[in-house]
Each structure stands twice: as structure tokens, then as C-alpha cells.
């Protein structure tokens, strides 16, 4: 498992725990707002970074030059 994947799993776990904690415990409103504002986008982004398909090793170089950079 590479370090990036590890980071994504940690971020996903942290955001999940924070959101679940706010669902179970009645924190002050400002804490819930802060968790929602940062936690929900972070949860979606980290989940997406884990679920997205990666290019094949042979194609990776070609992909990062694609597709509209114009250079």
C-alpha cells in the first residue's frame, strides 16, 4: 500500500468518525457546522480518491500529458 493510499484511508476514517460523532453526541452548533463544512467534502474526496481507477503503469506517462494542455 503506497503512502498516498494510506493518507486517503486516514482522511476517510477521520471524517467518518467526526460525522458519526456529531450524529450521536449533541455538540454545540458551531462544532457541528465546522465538522459538516469540512468533514462532508473531505469524506467524499477521500472516498473518491480511493475508488477512482488508476491508469496502467505503461499508460501513466501518456495520461498526465493528456488531454487539453495544449503544450
Amino acid at each position: 500500500m503506497d503512502s498516498q493510499k494510506g493518507l486517503y484511508i486516514v482522511l476517510l476514517a477521520l471524517s467518518t468518525i467526526a460525522i458519526l460523532a456529531c450524529l450521536v453526541i449533541d455538540f454545540d452548533a458551531w462544532i457541528v457546522y465546522a465538522v459538516a463544512i469540512f468533514g462532508i467534502p473531505l469524506w467524499i474526496l477521500s472516498l473518491g480518491l480511493l475508488t477512482m481507477a488508476k491508469p496502467e503503469p505503461g499508460d501513466a506517462e501518456e495520461r498526465v500529458k493528456e488531454p487539453f494542455t495544449g503544450y
Binding site: 457546522y33 463544512i37 467524499i44 474526496l45 473518491g48 480518491l49 493528456e66
Partner: protein, 290 residues
């Protein structure tokens, strides 16, 4: 209800309703242009599908910024859901959301390293002409109701009737913002097809799916705010009908109107905004507005 549960439910409703409304928008545009068009659920399916698509980060991008800006786009629309449907808070927060959205458009383009994205980012500055009438509309709502708080504006309208009948020109200014932000708008100079997909050109795969998620929420929040501050207290059915009608109108306008060049777009927006602004002032000072 638990506050976090309330927020999550509203975010999910905003995403699902926004996605279906944008799908409907595309369907209406297609039918007006005598095409069958994609299914209404297509926008929703695309948003989810992109999360599993192959994603690579181009060499030319500023990596942290390139990903971070998509995160910020989602973040501001979560703020929009909280300030609007959840907390019925101040309109100024929503104006702040639009101000930051402009920065997102600008920086999404500039972080991509693509000439198309960069040109779109320059146009994002020009298209700030949209936010000026929005600010004027909010000021007029404040002058009439004496408050910026959405909850108090709803209460005001339940006593005095919908604001659309009191300050129709301010509502028209807000509606112009809705047209501008709708897909394939005549004023959508940042996503002009000569720029491929504008500031979104280099954001594909997962990041595009994330952007579609945010845009669905943005469309829902925008329609919700417009209906709430100009049409008074509405039931869930009222909101649904209102959102479908507005989506229908914008779809028809966008299907029949070609995209304007940047200078024409800005001048048209400023001209309509100025007419509505001075018209509303005239209405206030001549006593038409109580």
C-alpha cells in the same frame, strides 16, 4: 432533529434534486431543439460514474491547488445548504458563497496550467458583472423587509405577501443570476465551447464527478433561495413546482439563445441590472413599494 442529521439530509436532498433538475434542464433544451436528449437521470449517473473513472493528474497543474479548489467548491455549497435550507441564516453568507464561487472559477482555471483554463479564469473576472445585480437585489430585499435573515424574510412575507409583487425588478435581477449560472447559458462565458470546458477542462474523472456533485447542490440552493426570498413561505410541493418551472424557463431560454461574446454578455448583464436597479429605486421613492 439532530443538527448533523438535518444537514446530511438537506445535502443529500440538494444533490439528488439538483442533479435531477439539471438532467431535466438538459432534456428540455434537447426537446426545444428537436433532439431526444439524454434521460433525466443522466446528470446524476454521470456524477456518480466519474468517481470510478480513471483519473490522472496532468503534469502542468499546481497539484495541491488543483485538488484543493474542487474541495473548496464543495465546501462553499455545503455552507450554502447550511445558511439556506438548514439554518435560514443571513443572505450575506450566501452572497459570500457567490463571491468565493467566483474565486473558485478563477483559480480552478489558473491551477490547471491549461491555456483554455487560464482564458476561462480571465473571463471569470469579467463575469463578476453577474454578482453586482445579485448584491443590489439583496440590498433591496433588506430595504423593504429591514432584515437580511432568511427566516425573518419568510415571516415578513407571510404577513405582507410575497416580495415578487413588491420588488419585481429586484427578483428579475436575481433571476438573471439564475440564467447566468444555468448550463449552456447565453452568459456562460467561462464555459464557452471555444474554451473546451473552460475552467473545468483539466478536471476530469473523480474531480469532475466531485464538481458535478457541487454544481447540483449549487443549482438547488440557488433556486431555493430565489423561491424563498421572493415567493414567501412555501411547502415542499411549492418548492418542487417552483424549481421545475424555473428549470423549464431557463432551459427554454438557453436552448433558443446562442452564447454571447464576453463583452456583449457583460454589457447585457450590466444594462439589465442597471435598469432593474434604478427602476426599483424609482418604485421605492414614488411610493409604489410600501
Amino acid at each position: 432533529m439532530n443538527l448533523m442529521a438535518d444537514i446530511l439530509i438537506n445535502v443529500i436532498i440538494a444533490f439528488l434534486a439538483g442533479s435531477l433538475l439539471l438532467g431535466l434542464h438538459r432534456k428540455i433544451m434537447a426537446r426545444v431543439q428537436k433532439r431526444p436528449g439524454p434521460p433525466i437521470v443522466q446528470h446524476l449517473i454521470h456524477s456518480l460514474k466519474f468517481f470510478f473513472k480513471e483519473t490522472a493528474i496532468p503534469k502542468t497543474v499546481s497539484k495541491v491547488f488543483y485538488i484543493g479548489i474542487v474541495f473548496i467548491l464543495a465546501l462553499i455549497w455545503i455552507v450554502g445548504v447550511i445558511a439556506g435550507p438548514v439554518a435560514h441564516d443571513s443572505l450575506l453568507i450566501l452572497f459570500g458563497v457567490y463571491a468565493v464561487y467566483k474565486i473558485v472559477e478563477h483559480n480552478s482555471g489558473s491551477s490547471s496550467g491549461s491555456p483554455y483554463g487560464k482564458l476561462s479564469c480571465v473571463r471569470a473576472v469579467l463575469s463578476a458583472a453577474t454578482e453586482l445585480p445579485l448584491f443590489a437585489a439583496i440590498v433591496f430585499v433588506y430595504l423593504v423587509t429591514g432584515t437580511m435573515n432568511i427566516g425573518e424574510i419568510i415571516t415578513y412575507q407571510s404577513v405582507h405577501g410575497p416580495l415578487i409583487f413588491t420588488i419585481p425588478l429586484a427578483a428579475l435581477m436575481f433571476f438573471m443570476l439564475i440564467i447566468t449560472k444555468s448550463p449552456y447559458s447565453p452568459f456562460a462565458i467561462t464555459k464557452d465551447k471555444v474554451l473546451v470546458s473552460g475552467f473545468e477542462t483539466e478536471h476530469f474523472g473523480l474531480l469532475r464527478g466531485f464538481m458535478l456533485f457541487s454544481e447540483s447542490i449549487a443549482w438547488y440552493v440557488m433556486l431555493w433561495v430565489f423561491l424563498t426570498i421572493f415567493f414567501g413561505p412555501l411547502t415542499a410541493v411549492g418548492y418542487l413546482i417552483g424549481m421545475i418551472v424555473i428549470t423549464f424557463i431557463t432551459g427554454f431560454i438557453n436552448a433558443t439563445t446562442p452564447i454571447l461574446s464576453p463583452n456583449h454578455s457583460v454589457m447585457t448583464q450590466i444594462t439589465i441590472g442597471a435598469i432593474c436597479f434604478f427602476g426599483t429605486i424609482l418604485m421605492i421613492f414614488t411610493g409604489v413599494v410600501a
